[in-house]
């Protein structure tokens, strides 16, 4: 059991979702986040106040997967989210202690197996 946490560009999200669905990964959570990862800074001016925007809009995708699906998920995200420029994002793979499907009480691998 692993939790795949991917941070990607918002503009790549539709492609990432399409790639994940194509790889049979259909259970996921998406959140809007702001972060900093060494991209080119954006300078903005509002009525004389000049600021450097250090945080950039990103999207974080959380996916609970069984071990066999980890590489599939990572490959799908890398293939669909990359633009080749700084700021494409990161993928973290974390160990997961326990997964429970709320509706049925199923645990672990059964809980992350999509319902047919």
């Amino acid at each position: 059991m692993k939790l795949v946490k991917a941070i990607v560009r918002p503009s790549r999200l539709p492609d990432v979702l399409r790639a994940l669905y194509a790889a049979d990964i259909t259970g996921l959570t998406v959140s809007r986040v702001r972060g900093h990862g060494g991209e080119v800074e954006v300078v903005e001016t509002y009525r004389g106040t000049t600021v450097k925007m250090e945080m950039h809009d990103k999207v974080m995708i959380d996916i609970g997967v069984s071990d066999t699906f980890v590489d599939i998920a990572v490959d799908a995200i890398c293939g669909s989210a990359a633009t080749g420029n700084v700021g494409d994002g990161k993928i973290f793979v974390l160990p997961v202690e326990r997964v429970v499907r709320v509706r049925t009480g199923e645990e672990d691998v059964a809980a992350v197996t999509p319902v047919r």
Partner: protein
């Protein structure tokens, strides 16, 4: 009359010449706003400014003269009370051509590009309707009965347009939508614009109800094509203007305004309808051809479109150095001295 030399406070017709200039100016500048709706999120700001400056001189000004300035269309008897052909057909066709020349936004047809704020859409429609009383009522150029007629017609036609549009929505998609109603208001306003002072209030109701129907189906069809007329400027303003101009030739009556003409339903035969059709055709062809040529000319001087990566980041940040919806999160104050050298709004990477 450079710099308004000779345009003073003395009356020109029924109003001070200076006021007439200001009033006409509002018609000219609204075309810039209309056309921009077909180019949003991808055209370079400087290209747009150059384009719209040339367009105002080479397209709007002569077309306006044809109809209102004693030109050939007005002389022929074409009825255009407040700019159905001059403003809406003219800008609508220009928008259509410009959207085609520029090409679609990079994510168009690939990703859902939805209105991002429905309350703003409704607020805008309300403000627009209010402002339109000025356009149509003011086009009587006097505080008289015709101004009252135009104002009431400007109230009734969009109302009838909403009625027709909600029925179409209900029986086409099954749901009545708020954005749909806002669109119906705009199309109804456009449709009554050429007719406002020439048709009876009953005529305005009929014109509003029937005038919006082609736009409804055109919008549904357009969204399935590769034509990224982003705010449906042609479908709403171009088509609405065409319907309004033609229906003026059907519903106009000299009983209500002796300065107008009789349309098809009021004993005028097809004569007025023919004149209206010719005015639409002439304006559409001239606007379409000239818009294409001006865009190609501007394209020779500078790129028309922003780079694809800039488009992804958003023109607010790249071209203007501000975010439309800034949260202030992660913003670090910069002093003059620390301000990094800017390249297209982005700091130079070492």
């Amino acid at each position: 009359m450079a710099f308004l030399a000779g345009v003073g406070l003395e009356p020109s017709g029924t109003t001070p010449h200076l006021l007439f200039m200001g009033f006409q100016g509002t018609f000219a500048i609204i075309t810039a706003a209309l056309i921009s709706g077909a180019l949003v999120e991808r055209m370079k700001f400087v290209s747009y400014v150059v384009f719209i400056g040339l367009w105002g001189l080479a397209v709007y000004a002569p077309v306006c003269h044809w109809v209102w300035g004693g030109g050939w269309l007005g002389g022929m008897g074409a009825l255009d009370f407040a700019g159905g052909a001059v403003v809406h057909v003219n800008a609508g066709v220009a928008a259509l051509v410009a959207a085609r020349v520029l090409g679609p936004r990079k994510d168009y047809g690939r990703e859902a590009l939805l209105p991002h704020n429905v309350p703003f859409v409704l607020l805008g429609a309300g403000v627009l309707w209010f402002g339109w009383f000025g356009f149509n009522g003011g086009s009587a150029l006097a505080a008289d009965g015709i101004a009252a007629l135009a104002l009431v017609n400007t109230l009734l036609a969009p109302a009838a347009g909403i009625f027709a549009w909600t029925l179409l929505d209900r029986f086409t998609t099954g749901k009545i939508t708020a954005v749909g109603i806002a669109t119906a208001i705009v199309v109804g306003l456009v449709a009554i614009t050429p007719a406002a002072g020439f048709v009876s209030p009953g005529g305005a109701l009929a014109l509003g109800a029937f005038g919006v129907i082609p736009s409804y189906y055109l919008i549904r069809w357009r969204t399935r094509t590769s034509l990224d007329d982003s705010l449906d400027v042609f479908a709403a303003h171009g088509m609405g203007g065409i319907m309004g101009a033609l229906l003026t030739g059907v519903l106009a009556t000299t009983v209500i305004n002796s300065g107008g003409a009789n349309g098809l339903l009021f004993g005028g035969g097809v004569t007025q309808l023919g004149i209206q059709a010719l005015s639409v055709l002439a304006v559409a062809v001239y606007s379409g051809v000239l818009t294409y040529l001006i865009l190609k000319l501007v394209g020779l001087m500078t790129k028309l479109r922003a780079d694809s990566s800039d488009e992804g980041l958003g023109m607010d940040i790249v071209a203007h150095g501000e975010e439309a919806y800034a949260t202030g999160e992660g913003a670090v104050l910069l002093n003059e001295a620390e301000a990094p050298e800017r390249v297209n709004g982005l700091t130079k990477k070492d």
